[in-house]
Structure formats: structure tokens, C-alpha cells
Symmetry: C2
Subunit: 518 residues, 2 copies
């Protein structure tokens, strides 16, 4: 098992001198293997290779792309033991989570393979009226944008990283991918990259269809996004990181699209009737959701909104008690731990914010237990700092005087990945304005559930108004994620011999699926 | 006929003191009526009204929106006489063009009315597997973004302005619209705005669903794009103008999407065999296309690429001769005329650029005749200034040594709305790399035709890689233009009673059109 170098296309190399190591949060020590930061020359070579690869990769058949994606999935399965072991060493997350995430990653790859296998995803569209009039014959379909730079997430070393949803959807669309490997799990990333490179070679993909660059700071990312031959960016991470990439991309002579999935506090609204009988159920459920994966989920419920009442008070106490019974778990990295403690303490130090549970200080540097605090709605509305995401197992409970104030609070929220409403159908029908207000703020609305857990299916929206994402018109999860990397293109007046099969007249008569003839 | 004030929602008002006039290019004099620039307070009021209107407008039925759009079309028809007269006074364009453009504008409005009438355009999508497993029930559809700021084009006072494609598609999607009226045809815009306001009132649309702001400089636009309650921008015009709005939007605390359709020189590639017999045909056709509307089309063919040969030389001379026979026509405005002369002369002054026809200096300040010039490919490739759009009836012919150099030239082009290839099927098949290279640069590729003329139909792509547009993933023309103003949204675990009709289970069993059940 070789580790530490970059994949510049098919070449495993490192000519740089700057090195870094990953960290084992469970052992509270650095891992032994060393990674060499990609040099400016290596970045440039990777992008130029991707550009050259694009010339053929954009044209290969859906069947060939499907074979490539399925073989990546196969190679990941073959390397499962090594990947899972490394994942746990670099993240501190339990083996069950690692296996689940690998399964999800493989499922995503196979889903995109299935999607592109028959080329119908290109939304081929023809104006056949052209044959009955003097109108031009126009045939439209979606074509890939070009090389995509992918920035993996700290909190999903597999499903949102090297071979995650961004990479799978970009490769499926016909775009080569250059991954800026996440420095917190560079070895896991390297093992995954090795699986992708193996699959690419075995299926005769062009050299440069995939590269993997090691990087411990922001310079490699900046250079990638500013490279003229990079045509789109996918990112999962913090608002600060995503916004920086967005700003680089917008500042280019030729601006390029950035889909950054960023911060969210995922508000949960408890209606009055919801807290009469099931308190215990919801307190337990939310104690679990808040602390799941040490709270390190984009969809972690960081804000719980209820009406000032005995029931909400009882729920708050229940929730705090339940959270106290959950053992402290390590965070992904000491940096995230420090960050969490800093933001949590800053939030707790705000006027009128009341800590609800005792927090245990774990002797291990990276371990934290869950924390919940309470504040009134007027204070929350007046203090924007209380809306800030505290990345980790933290949730702020907000108590409203009435539904009018609750609506006012929702109206002042920033964009979110998700919103959740807990209540009865009858009560929500009578307070439908809350649903409508929340819908304006989020990409996905959940009824009587938890926001954690993002189903991979075409009807999923994982995105939302800024800062949940940099472009709410797209989703990072589900087959529609491919739309981020393609553009519509029209052929006017071309004979069948000169255009792709999916646009030939025979394609419109043999099938109707996803084609639109009018 | 009242002119000069702003429509701030339903209120026809002007509290400002700065005024401006439009210009009659045919008479070479200012028009008499005066317009009052919108004030910062009026801008703010218009946006706040749009925001409030959005709360109800986003929810109204497709049928109601269709009625509104169709009534705008009716009101435009009723006002046809006044609109056409004013259009000609403010643009100098002939009546036939004015009538054609009004017809197109009305057609676009009715097309979007038809699109949204039955709500199927929202791409409703459900994972019905949820009923057979423990997977969540997820139902996805598209919802509108919020108030859209629309910036009309100088060169299409109707079809790409006040009630043009941006406005029609935004209103169809459920987004209120605030138009920044184009200062070169403010009276035409005001008449159209009046028709929209009448239709909005008659169909009981919320006050604020539409506003029309007068403005002769860039400040109103800047304030509009930076207003926190504006959620998207549509623009048609120059690269300078579109990029400025894009930069404002990207600099906001909450960045918003900008679809700016901007500059293009629309390269036309002549294959060798195309110039053996039909020289005369193509010379005449392109003389017409280059000078159509005094060359003031986004799709004007500003670049003609051929192989160095006796045939291409003969074609060049034919084209120059044909253009000389076409009478000088006035441009839309003295400012555009000055700009045209400046850019044309700067281009002609470049090394090795050879003027092909004598240009007549018309006594009227705003009139120009067509101009073509010739340069060799090596010079063109080496001098980026030669790629600059000269907005007006100008085209640069570029002579290549061979197909390899032609491909090299295409590779160095910026993004374009269109590309055109003139040739036989057999020859293009043998030079397919030219088609492939050109496809990477454009939104629409035309075979044996002219780029001028943009068919309004779903398979049209009017957009393209930067700087043709600021986001090649969308089109400004055709029903897909609505996608610029909507975002996917998912309901998870909601009972039928709480979600829109199109997402209820009954909708998925009664119809399959544009719904996707899996």
C-alpha cells in the first residue's frame, strides 16, 4: 500500500518538498505516513491532462462511462478492508459508519452508472414541427462543461469526497475530475484515488480523466479554481471555505460555476400539540440526531424552535438529560475540536443564552459531549451571532411567545439545507404560514422526522438558499446532481450523419423516455 | 398616453428630479417627452412591494398565472398602434421589424402561459419506493426564487426588454419582476409596462408583481442588484454591462444568480467545398445577415473563417461588393454609432487588417453602411483585440492556411452564442474535428444557414460559454428559460393534505407527463 504522493493523471508522483500528516483522533496522535503537497507544476500538469482527456472523454458512450463508474465501485469493494481501516484511523468514526458510508459511495457510483448508461439523461429535445413548416430543425441536448475541481468534505471521507457524489456525477456527465484531497483524510483519499485510477486504466479511459492532489492549506485550491482550463467547481465544507472558492471563481476573467454545499443550522420547529404525549420520544430522537457522528453532519439540527410553555420546558429538560447520557465522542480532528469549543463558548457567552446540560470535559483532546442551550426568540432575532453554525454536537433551543413571533423568527433565518416541522397534520394545517415561511428558507422540509440522514434518490434536494449552498438551483445529492456539470446545446439544420445518436431522428421514434418531441 | 414616470407596483409616480430623453435616430434629434429617473426610495419601495407580492404570487395557480400572461399579450395587442409608433421613433428600426418583434413578444408570453397552465413544468418527482420499504417519502418540485431584476436590451425594445423573454419566464415561474427600463427606449418600455400593469390589475395580481424603473445611468441597476430582497437577475446587453451586474451580484453577502446574455462574434466556418458553386448565394446571404437590423443582433456574424484559396478570395470580393449595394441604415442611438465607429476603426487599424469595401460616410450622424475586412489566421490568433465584438454591421474575414490552423483558431476563440458551418455533409464528416472544436465554444451550432434569427422553441439554446453568457447552463430563449428562476425543493414525509396538488399521490397516478415516479 503506497501512500503520500499525488495522482497526476496516471502518474503517481511528488516533486514537492512540503509535507504533512493526518491525525488519529482516537489515539490523539499523528498518523505515521507523510503526504507531499502538490506543486504548482503538478497542479498545472493535472489540469492540462484533464483538458486533453476531456477532448475524448466528453464523447465516449454512456455504456463506457457506466462501465468505468461500476468498475470504480468494484475496486472500492475490493479495497474495502484497507479503506475502512484507514477511514477509522483518520476520522475517529466507528467502523459501522465507515462501512455504511462506503456502501453509500458505491451505491452513488452505481446509480450514476445506471443513469448515464443509455444517454437519456441528456434531455434530448427536437422540434419536429420543422418538417411541417419553414422553421429550422433544432435538436437540443446536454453536454459536459469541462474539467471539474472537486473539494472533498472533512466530515464524509468517502461519500462527499474523492469518489463521492461530486466526482461520480461529474465523471458521469463526461467531465474529467481533479480532486483536491482533504488534508484530514489524505490516506483514505489516496486509497480511493488508487481505486479510481485502476478502474480508469482497466476501462481505457484517457490519462487525466482523474487526478488527486494532496494539499494541507488553501493554495492548491486557489490555483485550481483560478486555472483557465478548470470549468466548474464542486465543494462540500464550511461557509468560509466555500465562499473563498466562490469568490475566486467569480473573479476570473471567465467566471465558472461553483456548487458549494456549506453551512446550515437546520431549524426544527415544534408545534404546540407535538409536545403533549410524545415528549420523551422526540427528546430521545433529537438527542440522538444532535450527537450523531459527534454532530458533524451538514444536516445536524442546530436550532430547535418551540412555543414558551410547560411542555416545551419539559422537552428541553428531557432533551438535556438524554444528551447527558450519551457518551462523549471524538471529533474528526483537533482543529475542528478547538473550533467547536471556541464557537460553542462564544455562543454560550451571549446575553440570555442559558446552558441546559452539564458538559463533561473529556481528558482526550478531541472528545466532546453534546450541548444544548436555551434562549428567547426576541434575543435570537436581535443577535445574528446566534444563527452561526456551531459545527459539532450543539443545538440552541429558542422559545417563542406565540406563532406570530415564530414566523418572524423563521423569516429572519439565513438559507438552510433543511427545515423540520414536528406536529400534527391538523395543527400544521391551521398554522400553514409557518410551513410556507420555512419553505422559503430551505432546500428540504421534513415532517415529524430528523434532518440527519440524506437519502440518495432522484427526488432528494441537498442544497438550498445561500449560505446552505452557493446556488440553490442545484442539488448535490441524487441523480439531478449531474445537472451542475452540463449545459444545453442545440444543433440547427444538421443531418443525422453529423450528430450524436441520441439526437438522430430514429432515437425520437424508438423511445420517448426523457425526450420531448413537439 | 402618459409617459415619463415609474411604475412602482401599481403606482405611477416620479419623485425624483433627474430627467432624460430618448432619441429618434431617423430624425437625428431627441424625442420631446421626458423621463424621471427612479430615486433610491422608489427602488426600495418597488423591491419591497415585489417581496410582499412574492408571498402570494409564488403560490397562485398555474391557471391564474397563464391568465395574467395571456392578458399581458392581449393588452399589448390592443396597444399595438402606439407601441409600434413609439418603437420606430425610439429605435429607428423599420415598422416591419417592430411588428415582427411585437408578434414574437406576444408569442413568448402565450408560450409561457401555456407552459405553466397545468403545473407540469415544475418537474414533480416522487420516490414511491418509500411505500415498499423503510425509505422516506420524498417529493420534489421546482419553486420560484423570489423577485427578479430584469435589464432590457438596447437592440430588442420588445422581445428582450420590458415584457420580453426574461420577464415572461420569471412571471411564469412565480417570481415578481422589477424592470430597469432601457434608457434608449424608455417610452416604448413605459407603454409596455402600462400593458403589464393593466393585465395585473384585471387579473387581481398582488401589487408589486411588476414594477418599471426609469434610469439613464448605471446607479439604479447597481442598487437593484445589491438589494437584499432581489433574488436573481436577467440581463441582455454588452459584456461590460453584464459583467458589472455579475460582479455586484457575486459581491453580495448573499450572492444571487445572474443570467446575462452578452457579447458574441458568432464565428462562421466555410469549408473548402462550400465555395465552389454557391459563392454568390452565400455572399448574398451573408451580406444580408451582416447588415440585418444595422448589424445590431447578438447573433450577428462578426467573424467569417475560410481557407486561403481562389474560391475564398472570390467569395470575399463578392461579399464586399454585395455589402456595398446595401444602403446605409441608422443605428439605434448616436452613442452606439460612436461606439461602432470607434471599435471598427480600431480594428481596421490593426496590423495586417485589410478593408475590403469602401465605406460610405453618411451625412446623418447615426447611419452606417456595412463593412468587411480581411486578415490572416496567424495574425488573428496572435491579436486578441481582433476577437472583440464590433457591435454593428461589421464582419472580419479570416484566412487560414489549412484545416489544422482553422482548428487552432477555433480553439483560441472565446465563448459564443452561435457557431455556423457552411459545407457539404461529406466534407464536414472528413473534418469532424472542426465541428467538435466549435461545439465547445458555442451554445448553438448552425449548418448551412445564418446565425441571425433565434427561433422561439423548447429546443433552442440562446446562451453559451462566457462571455456569450454568465452561465452556460441556462438558455434565455425557449421554455427552458424558466429554469433560471427556480430551484428544486423536497418535501419529506408530508401527508397529501399539506402539500401542493401537483405533489399529491393522485397527481402521479393520473398523469405521467414530466413526472418521474420510481
Amino acid at each position: 500500500m503506497e501512500l503520500g504522493k499525488n495522482y497526476i493523471g496516471y502518474t503517481y508522483t511528488s516533486s514537492g518538498s512540503k509535507t504533512f500528516r493526518t491525525f488519529n483522533p482516537k489515539l490523539n496522535s499523528e498518523n505515521t505516513f507523510e503526504f507531499t503537497e502538490a506543486t504548482p507544476e503538478e497542479i498545472n500538469t493535472a489540469v492540462n491532462l484533464a483538458w486533453d482527456a476531456f477532448k475524448s472523454y466528453r464523447k465516449i458512450s454512456g455504456k463506457s462511462k457506466a462501465k468505468f463508474l461500476n468498475l470504480i465501485a468494484d475496486e472500492l469493494s475490493l479495497a474495502e478492508k484497507d479503506i475502512i481501516e484507514m477511514y477509522c484511523q483518520e476520522s475517529g468514526l466507528p467502523e459501522g459508519r465507515a462501512k455504511g458510508e462506503l456502501g453509500r459511495t458505491i451505491f452513488q457510483l452505481r446509480t450514476f452508472a445506471q443513469l448515464v448508461e443509455d444517454d437519456h439523461w441528456v434531455e434530448a429535445n427536437i422540434n419536429s414541427n420543422a418538417h411541417h413548416s419553414n422553421k429550422p430543425d433544432l435538436r437540443q441536448y446536454n453536454i459536459p462543461l469541462g474539467p471539474v475541481a472537486v473539494f472533498g468534505a472533512s466530515n464524509f471521507p468517502l461519500a462527499y469526497s474523492t469518489a463521492g457524489g461530486d466526482t461520480a456525477s461529474a465523471l458521469a456527465s463526461g467531465c474529467p475530475v481533479i480532486v483536491k484531497s482533504h488534508p484530514m483524510h489524505a490516506a483514505t483519499g489516496s486509497l480511493v484515488a488508487s481505486a479510481i485510477v485502476k478502474a480508469a486504466k482497466k476501462t481505457n479511459m484517457p490519462n487525466g480523466v482523474f487526478s488527486n492532489l494532496n494539499s494541507s492549506d488553501t493554495e492548491v485550491g486557489r490555483m485550481l479554481v483560478l486555472h483557465p482550463k478548470v470549468k466548474a467547481v464542486g465543494f462540500t465544507g464550511s461557509i468560509k471555505g466555500g465562499r473563498a472558492l466562490f469568490d475566486y471563481a467569480a473573479s476570473r476573467p471567465e467566471p465558472i460555476p461553483v456548487f458549494a454545499e456549506m453551512g446550515s443550522i437546520n431549524p426544527v420547529v415544534f408545534l404546540k400539540d407535538s409536545l403533549t404525549e410524545k415528549n420523551n420520544h422526540w427528546a430521545e430522537t433529537y438527542a440522538g440526531s444532535i450527537t450523531l457522528g459527534t454532530g458533524q453532519f451538514c444536516t445536524n439540527p442546530g436550532l430547535i424552535i418551540g412555543l414558551k410553555s410547560n411542555e416545551f420546558s419539559a422537552f428541553s429538560i428531557d432533551l438535556a438529560n438524554k444528551i447527558e447520557t450519551i457518551q462523549a465522542q471524538c471529533m474528526l480532528h483537533p482543529k475542528l475540536h478547538t473550533h467547536y469549543e471556541h464557537l460553542k463558548n462564544e455562543t454560550l457567552a451571549q446575553t440570555k443564552v442559558q446552558l441546559l446540560n452539564s458538559t463533561t470535559i473529556d481528558s482526550k483532546l478531541t472528545s466532546v459531549s453534546g450541548t444544548v442551550a436555551l434562549v428567547d426568540a426576541a434575543t435570537f432575532i436581535a443577535n445574528p451571532l446566534l444563527q452561526r453554525e456551531v459545527f459539532g454536537p450543539f443545538s440552541l433551543l429558542v422559545q417563542c411567545e406565540d406563532y406570530a413571533q415564530m414566523e418572524q423568527l423563521i423569516d429572519c433565518l439565513e438559507g438552510q439545507l433543511t427545515g423540520t416541522i414536528i406536529g400534527t397534520e391538523a395543527e400544521l394545517l391551521s398554522q400553514i404560514q409557518l410551513l410556507e415561511a420555512l419553505q422559503q428558507k430551505v432546500g428540504r422540509l421534513i415532517f415529524n422526522g430528523v434532518p440527519t440522514g440524506v437519502e440518495v434518490c432522484p427526488s432528494m434536494t441537498h442544497g438550498g438558499p445561500y449560505p446552505a449552498s452557493t446556488d440553490s438551483r442545484f442539488t448535490a445529492v441524487g441523480t439531478n446532481a449531474i445537472k451542475r456539470w452540463v449545459r444545453p446545446f442545440s444543433f440547427q439544420g444538421f443531418p443525422d450523419a453529423l450528430i450524436p445518436k441520441i439526437l438522430k431522428r430514429e432515437s425520437f421514434t424508438t423511445t420517448k423516455r426523457n425526450t420531448h418531441e413537439y
